[in-house]
Amino acid sequence: MDRNKIRQEVEGILREVLATKVEISPETRLEADLAIDSLKAMELLAEVEDRFDISIPVNVLNEVQTVEDLVLQIEKLLAED
């Protein structure tokens, strides 16, 4: 799956999890801009795992600040599979 497709999918998941039509760009920060707290982050992670059929270590969240960070992590995990 190419990066653009992953990005589109992630943006869709974010809108579902946040239940709002918020503006999202690759630079959007998950915590600072979208107010994703630890609970929402876990919900997001579970959705991403199901949608891409991958397992994401919780630890990875420490390195994920923006939407693009998450996209790159998914790309990496898909490549490993």
């Binding site: 630890s38 609970l39 876990m42 992670l45 579970a46 397992s55 270590p57 919780v58 630890n59 599979d81």
Partner: protein, 390 residues
Amino acid sequence: MGIFDKFQRLACSLEEVRQNFGGFNVVIEKILSPTRAVVNGHRVILAGTNNYLGLTFDEECIEAACRAIREEGTGTTGSRMANGTYHSHLILENELSAFFEKPHTIVFTTGYAANLGVLSTLVNREDAVILDADCHASIYDGCRLGGVSVYRFRHNDLEDLEKKLHRLRKKNLHQNLLIVVEGLYSMLGDRAPLAEIAALKEKYGAYLLVDEAHSLGVLGKKGRGRAEEAGVEEKVDFIVGTFSKSLASIGGYCTSHHAELEILRYASRPYIFTASLSPANLAAARTALKIIQDRPELKERLWHNAYRLYQGLQKMGFELGPEPSPIVAVRFRKPEEALKTWRGLLEKGVYVNMVLPPATPDGSALLRASVSAAHTSEDINHIIQAFAHL
């Protein structure tokens, strides 16, 4: 940006609670018995503790603790590795081994330290932990300290657990996988489907650690916990637990059939670099452990109370945890409703725990009521009536 700026959001939430409800911090002004205290000026029934067998005021436990202080002093002033291993630490480890029928046991200074000490050491960056999403913070913190990769599965969701095990095994046939669950979950009071989890552990060649913090003395014919109740003790590699609930003291332990557990004494930083358990706490825990074995009627009384409270609240239409247990969780969709109910109960002489997100499993607010073997039938009636007349 100042060093405290990161707490701004938390400070705002706290201020909101203070303004609307006058806060919810509780000081036990005077503790009177396992089930009675003075809280915020009210004499209350304590229905929000972890004193499942009601042993904190047991004469035998008190006497044993007092004797230990007179004979061994008030503190050990040292770590287990240095001058802090007393004969009584070893005796308690042996008694726990005999109780669980597991030959190797290590005692830690708290239950939190037990999870921190075991998980930070047992698994490392080469391994993977697959844990239930509702596991206690000490489990997450232990994993974080050791740097192991952590994968969460949805609470009690066997399909999700298997999906994760399957993916990890497919990727690496030889990686050490450790499944971590709790026997009885502290917030909703529901059990882990342990027989099925143990079967998955075998299928995927993983290890299994069960935290029996809330199930020791509560579940199983001999009170050994959920693993005993589910008939899978031999398949559980590590049992971790605490002395601060049914054993009415403070401290923690890990017990196992793996002889290699002993090496953790020389590698686990939370075991090595903290003062050891005090003689009074050791003596109280030892006595309570003996009482669990000698007085099975306490467990029966506890469950009798648990069923009565659960059914009483269920009849009134409260949204409760999924199954009856000594932890009866009442859910509220809005935190404001939970806060109002909590204050109303306090005024009617009942103290329960107030749990707000993010400490709750699904973001809802909870009132966590818990029963004790020391509650009388009248106490349970009083608690039910207090909920009825809010």
